[in-house]
């Protein structure tokens, strides 16, 4: 299939820079390590059991930061193609443009998953082997993997909407940055979700932010009953649909008013 080709191409592009790759690997490990150390210190100096146990916090950090580091979605990709005019050539090809962008991103992510996340995760799990919670239930792991995939699609659709905004706004960098702030705070990347104030937690439940990382992590940690799991998975699907519709709508609206400067 032609989209598989785009996927493979993106994957191969990544194999070019070896030293770079090694350093980015170190980067992820340091990030996870530091977050874990900060929370360990917090639990140790305060001598109180927080809302959840330390091992839950550490496990969620390892999963969450690991995932967020491989989800490298370039929000400026479309805008850049506007700038240099290459979008013209790509629009001429008989492909669904948004699927093409998705295939490109997935190729990058698969590379990072294999060569970045898996080694990092193994190292971090070994470092924190005393606190890391290993999920032994194969059914949970199966649901966990599915919900990771759905979570990624939610994140992708959010980014895709930001990408499409470049038809109307000259520079989407600021909007993309502000979007990332929301994801970092509300989706649990920098703050374990249990420590958000209760009112915010209740609101976040009904936003796409909780569908990205929080749902998979809660499934992994067995914090959801069977019924809740099904609802959470359905909610992820609903978000994907809604966001995809908005994205598609923006794409079709934008395509009509496309003006390329230079090229």
């Amino acid at each position: 299939m032609k989209y598989m080709f785009f996927l493979k191409r993106a994957f191969k592009n990544n194999t070019m820079y070896r030293f770079d790759y090694f350093l980015s690997w170190l980067n992820v490990c340091i990030q996870i390590f530091i977050s874990c150390e900060i929370w360990k210190a917090l639990y140790m100096t305060n001598h109180v059991s927080g809302k959840v146990s330390l091992s839950v916090v550490l496990t969620s950090f390892i999963i969450n930061l690991g995932l967020s580091n491989i989800y490298s979605i370039d929000d400026l990709a479309v805008q850049r193609k506007f700038g240099d005019g290459t979008i013209i050539c790509e629009l001429l090809k008989p492909i669904n443009y948004r699927l093409y962008l998705l295939a490109d991103t997935v190729g990058n992510i698969l590379f990072k998953l294999l060569f970045n996340m898996i080694p990092c995760a193994i190292i971090m799990i070994l470092v924190y082997r005393k606190s890391f919670i290993l999920c032994k239930n194969p059914y949970s792991i199966f649901v966990f993997v599915i919900s990771i995939l759905l979570g990624f699609l939610v994140l992708w659709e959010i980014s895709s909407i930001v990408q499409m905004l470049c038809f109307w706004i000259v520079n989407v960098w600021s909007i993309s940055t502000i979007k990332n702030v929301f994801i970092n705070v509300l989706a649990g990347t920098m703050l374990p979700v249990w420590y958000l104030p209760n009112t915010i937690q209740n609101i976040v439940k009904y936003t796409p932010f909780s569908a990205i990382y929080i749902t998979p992590i809660k499934i992994y940690l067995n914090q959801m009953g069977n019924k809740q799991q099904t609802i959470a998975l359905l909610l992820q699907l609903v978000w994907i649909l809604i966001l995809a519709l908005i994205g598609n709508f923006l794409w079709h609206m934008g395509k009509k008013k496309l003006v390329v400067q230079g090229g």
């Binding site: 820079y17 030293f19 770079d20 350093l23 980015s24 170190l26 980067n27 340091i30 990030q31 530091i34 150390e37 900060i38 210190a41 917090l42 100096t45 305060n46 109180v48 927080g50 809302k51 000259v170 520079n171 960098w173 600021s174 909007i175 940055t177 502000i178 990332n180 702030v181 970092n184 705070v185 920098m190 703050l191 420590y195 958000l196 104030p197």
Partner: protein
């Protein structure tokens, strides 16, 4: 000297004009930088709704500690943006242009660009947190203390400038220095908002002796607050030493810069 100042002034004027070409976009970007940088602060604040202190530091002391990172970076980037983006000069061979002009190369690199978005974003955030947090902890703002704070900020700028000068010099030897800098500077900077005493020993030694960012905020805040924090495993003499470290490091890195400039071989094109 007068001629150098007027040249610097002209460089500044053109760089401001270039950065603020699109006004709405410029202010949106400054706001975005501020929002991005305040993420860590917001997270810290929410965390401390549930906890009381970390390694003996309260939330206000932590914010005070963090504000030094933002303040120094805000000032640093006005002067040192040229070094941050230096590798592109080497990759594209634009450095040739600077080499044949009758002024110092370093001066031209430093003066020719300032990232005003980052400067205003970090700077405003830094000032806001600094004022808020220092009003919550007991600091006597007598002239001596104000002078101390200023000298600490200056030395923080110098230390980071020296680090970037070293990274810039390294780009003569290894062309792509991005990721190295990511690991050694950006990554470490992002966790300097917490007192280093909570980290494992290896990391503590690393940020004191190898990438001495501890002298940018950890020791200076103790100096200004006038206390020796529990958990500080380093000698008390390190606390007032920032200025010396700053000047010394900048001197050494300048010598390294002069040394490595000789190895520049243009890339052609």
């Amino acid at each position: 000297m007068k001629d150098v100042i007027s040249l610097y002034y002209h460089y500044c004027k053109t760089s401001i004009k270039a950065w603020f070409q699109y006004r709405v976009d410029a202010f949106l970007r400054i706001f975005a930088v501020m929002a991005r940088e305040s993420t860590a602060v917001i997270v810290m604040y929410i965390t401390f709704l549930n906890f009381d202190n970390i390694g003996g530091w309260t939330i206000y002391e932590l914010l005070f500690l963090y504000s030094f990172m933002f303040l120094t970076y805000g000032i640093f980037i006005i002067f040192f943006t040229g070094l941050r983006d230096f590798q592109y000069l080497v990759i594209q061979g634009d450095l040739d242009k600077l080499l044949i002009r009758p002024r110092g190369v370093l001066f031209q690199v430093l003066a020719s660009n300032s990232d005003w978005f980052a400067a205003l974003g970090h700077g405003t955030l830094g000032v806001m947190i600094f004022i808020y947090s220092s009003s919550k902890i007991n600091i006597q703002w007598n002239p001596a203390n104000i002078l101390l704070a200023c000298s600490c900020v200056c030395s923080g700028v110098l230390i980071q400038g020296a680090l970037f000068l070293i990274f810039a010099s390294l780009s003569f030897f290894i062309v792509k220095t991005d990721n190295l800098r990511n690991v050694l500077y950006w990554n470490i900077k992002s966790f300097m908002g917490y007192p280093i005493s909570i980290y494992p020993l290896l990391i503590q030694y690393f940020v004191v002796y190898i990438i001495p960012l501890a002298f940018v905020n950890y020791f200076p805040t103790q100096l200004i607050m006038g206390c020796f924090k529990a958990g500080n495993i380093f000698p008390e003499i390190y606390i007032p030493l920032s200025t010396v470290v700053g000047i010394f490091m900048f001197g050494v890195s300048y010598l390294f810069w002069r040394f490595s400039l000789r190895f520049y071989a243009s890339t052609g094109s």
